[in-house]
């Protein structure tokens, strides 16, 4: 196996191409063990193309015969042609073509990537590595540029090239920090997403967590949690009762209120994993006297849209269901709860997918929460939040939407010991669970999330709490995004950081309710991490 890769290794090498050695991983100022990769089973290796490294995310079926090998290559080329077709890829064609045609190969983007940095500059994680393989295949085999072999180098396109490139598309969190640094405007994150899309939309190959158990399940039952509308209403009713008792604050979450001002769309994962987030929204909105509702229509009670990470068609289907639910209720606007990709999906990307009649105004919860906190409608006691708090910026809501300050206004108002991570805001680092990884735990993916993708975030957290890192001080990582919380939960649990460093995590609404005078003290349950 090679640690120093060249572009042509993608097609020439036999067997597993590379690995990331533990010794290469960046050290942390935390007591965190580097977890060795588990060997992939013989069955996995016989069933899937386990050709890149120690992970198998995409699970491309391993071709059994030369005919199947050729078929894989041909389907891939068909998909690549469609990526460059106006009819099939109107959504992203302009971005893809410019990113393929105008890269100067300066590699200025490399250092921006947290995966590249924490692996000591492993070539596989250089943002341009997969992009340049993709470009060379396109120029040599699809566009057939004159003298392409001579000009750019002859890259052999075989089934191993295809399989490894597909996997490579999932060695990226799609945080687009690399794109932010590009002097020209090339977007290597976009190219990773387009490769994912090619595999999903043409070959029907996608991670099951995103597709069968993700977008398809959501389209069938209404939520990737598999909760149908009856179950979700029961669960929220239970949350209402439970948290009304705990907080001493009577509240009721409204459902399907026609003509309400606001349709609030949560990530349904919160209902299952973090009910305190759901309850906190209900308490705040009721206390602020808002006219609002949840919807029990298909998919409208789950803001997730995993198509954002891998498939335009699934994206459009889900976004339509969200908009149709709002239209049916006749609300004035949709407000997205604490879910970063739901923010970007419905507010930004869907803006040029939804027809005008379904273009219901959509906004983030953060400005609304900021306005509520600052309005004086609710009495707060910030001393209840007098513990060290830092803020994680979800890439989708911050770098990709420019929603930076409202969260900070709340922090400064309610959290006396608030401190920033560095860098933060639009220059933040991904939590490591971005683009769907937060919900994947198989085939070494959970080890990857701890060893590699979450490593930079752990370093940032440790740095933010450097003055109080010991277990005697309870510390709160505010991660106002369901996927980010899932990833940070894993980082804390896998590494025992609750016991060792008293690191806790949660959303932003929990901090708001924790400081509400009308609510019993102690909304944040430190011991229940």
């Amino acid at each position: 196996m090679k640690s120093s890769l060249t572009l042509n290794d993608i097609s020439r090498a036999n067997g597993q191409l590379t690995t990331v050695e533990m010794i290469e991983l960046m050290d942390l100022p935390l007591d965190v063990a580097k977890m060795p990769w588990k060997p992939l089973s013989e069955e996995q290796q016989n069933t899937y193309c386990c050709l890149l490294d120690d992970l198998v995310v995409l699970q491309i079926p391993r071709p059994k015969t030369p005919v199947e090998e050729e078929e894989l290559v041909n389907k891939f080329l068909d998909g690549m042609r469609k990526l460059f077709s106006e009819q099939d890829n109107w959504t992203f064609l302009s971005m893809l073509e410019t990113s393929v045609n105008y890269c100067a190969q300066c590699n200025s983007c490399s250092e921006a990537c947290h995966l590249f940095e924490v692996t000591g500059g492993h070539e596989m994680y250089r943002p341009n590595f997969r992009s340049e393989i993709f470009r060379r295949i396109y120029k040599q085999y699809v566009k057939k540029e004159p003298f392409a072999k001579w000009r750019y180098g002859d890259l052999d396109l075989n089934w191993k090239t295809v399989a490894r490139l597909g996997e490579l598309a999932f060695r990226c969190n799609l945080c687009r920090r690399c794109a932010q640094t590009c002097p020209i405007g090339v977007d290597n994150g976009l190219i990773a997403r387009e490769i994912r899309k090619l595999f999903s939309q043409e070959l029907g190959i996608n991670p099951p967590e995103l597709h069968e158990k993700g977008s398809m399940l959501q389209l069938r039952t209404g939520s990737s949690t598999a909760m149908d509308s009856m179950v979700v209403r029961d669960n929220v009713e239970f949350i209402d009762e439970d948290f009304a008792d705990v907080t001493g604050y009577a509240f009721k979450t409204p459902w399907d209120v026609e003509g309400a001002d606001i349709l609030l769309v949560h990530n349904a994962g919160e209902i299952m994993a973090w009910p305190e987030n759901i309850a906190a929204f209900s308490i705040i909105f009721q206390a602020a006297g808002l006219s609002w509702t949840l919807s029990s229509a298909l998919a409208a009670y789950d803001g997730i849209n995993y198509g954002t990470f891998y498939d335009d068609v699934q994206f459009a289907r889900t976004a339509l269901l969200h908009a149709q639910a709002a239209k049916k209720l006749g609300v004035k606007k949709i407000v997205l709860g604490e879910c970063g990709h739901a923010h970007k999906a419905l507010t930004i990307i869907a803006d040029r997918v939804l027809p005008p009649e379904l273009d219901i105004p959509r906004e983030s919860c953060f400005p609304l929460l900021r306005d509520i906190v600052m309005s004086g409608k609710i009495a707060f006691d910030p001393s209840r939040n007098n513990f060290p708090v830092t803020l994680h910026d979800p890439c989708n809501a911050v770098r990709l939407m420019g929603i930076v300050k409202p969260q900070r206004d709340i922090m400064h108002h309610l959290c006396p010991q608030f401190r920033e991570m560095h860098p933060h805001g639009v220059n933040n680092y991904c939590c490591g669970g971005g683009s769907g990884f937060a919900i994947m735990s198989r085939n070494n993916i959970e080890i990857w999330r701890n060893n590699i993708s979450g490593r930079k975030k752990m370093a940032q957290i440790a740095d933010a709490f450097a003055d109080c890192l010991g277990p005697e001080t309870k510390k709160y990582i505010c991660a106002p995004c369901s996927n980010c919380k899932g990833q940070i939960r894993e980082l804390i649990a896998h590494n025992g950081l609750l016991e060792k460093n008293s690191l806790h995590y949660g959303g932003i609404v929990e901090l708001i309710v924790n400081a509400m005078v009308d609510v019993n003290p102690g909304y944040i349950k430190w011991e229940e991490e």
């Binding site: 106006e86 992203f92 302009s94 750019y152």
Partner: protein, 311 residues
């Protein structure tokens, strides 16, 4: 040889303009893409511009038309173009080599346009005097700085691509050919500058002759070669990845900073309507695009709830 020089000059000029115009038209005729902006956006206004914020930080943001600041966008782009700010921020070692190269090209372009201006003045009968002397001295300086920048920059870039492992892996014959061509251009220009009393005079006379279709000897062999290579590059560069010098405008303004909400643009709304009627041929089982179904039809089909395709 003399005629050939002029022929290359005419063809190079026409090809350069045609390729740029065609590529811009091709880009503008592309389907309306979805929003994919990245913050900070250059045209953001007020305090928000300082930290990369957006209009989405406001409640009910759609109640006002989002316009952005033209000068904000212009300022951000000029800082990037004139100083290669992103390369300076993120790749200083490369910046130390690529900036002299780009700065050299800017100087040469500046000198070139001043020379065209002087040639037009000459054709209009302006008598040699203080005006030509001033412009001439300026062009002499710009050209010299330009040649030195291009020579130094290309040598530095070639050296770095050859010796820095991370760049060597990604450097192709194309890169070395391009850099080599610019190095040769700088050397030919430099030799001409040193070997002639006035590079400005040579340039002004050539352009005046070119504009008046008089195929007069350009003056020296090195200058003729410089002209042939320079005009050939003018035709070649816009067709390659170096075409970023004009496509960057769209990559920034239309994509990276493209935050215009569709509600503010009837044009965008009209385009979306057309795009939704585009045909889909993606083959995966959950799409089954047959080249006949439209995006609107595919997006309103729920293969999970209705596997038989009926809604």
């Amino acid at each position: 040889m003399v005629t050939f020089v002029y022929l290359v000059a005419y063809l190079g000029t026409v090809a350069c303009a045609a390729i740029i115009v065609l590529n811009v038209i091709k880009y503008l005729k592309k389907p309306q893409h979805v929003r994919w902006e990245l913050y900070p956006v250059g045209h953001e206004q007020g305090h928000r511009a300082s930290y990369g914020g957006s209009y989405l930080e406001e409640v009910d943001w759609w109640k006002q038309k989002q316009t952005g600041s033209f000068f904000g966008g212009l300022k951000a782009l000029l800082i990037e173009v004139l100083f290669l700010h992103a390369t300076f921020e993120h790749n200083k070692k490369l910046w130390g080599r690529t900036y002299p190269f780009h700065f050299g090209l800017y100087m040469l372009f500046g000198g070139f346009f001043l020379t065209i201006f002087a040639a037009l003045a000459q054709l209009m009968g302006v008598v040699p005097g203080a005006f030509f002397t001033t412009v001439g001295n300026l062009v002499q300086v710009l050209s010299l700085v330009g040649f030195l920048g291009v020579i130094g920059g290309t040598c530095g870039l070639i050296h770095r691509r050859l010796n820095q492992e991370d760049l060597r892996k990604y450097s192709t014959r194309d890169h070395y050919f391009n850099l080599g061509a610019f190095l040769l251009l700088g050397l030919l220009g430099g030799v001409t500058w040193l070997g002639s009393p006035s590079f400005f005079e040579l340039g002004r006379n050539f352009i005046a002759n070119m504009l008046s279709f008089k195929f007069v000897d350009p003056g020296s062999a090195s200058f003729s070669l410089y002209l042939i290579l320079g005009f050939a590059l003018a035709a070649y560069v816009p067709a390659t990845h170096m075409g970023h010098f004009y496509m960057k405008y769209f990559m920034y303004h239309d994509i990276r900073w493209g935050d215009q909400p569709s509600q503010d643009s009837a044009t965008i709304q009209g385009k979306i309507g057309r795009m939704l009627n585009y045909r889909v041929s993606w083959s995966a089982p959950h799409i089954k695009g047959d080249g006949e179904k439209t995006w609107a039809e595919v997006a309103t089909t729920n293969p999970s709830a209705n596997p038989d395709g009926k809604n």
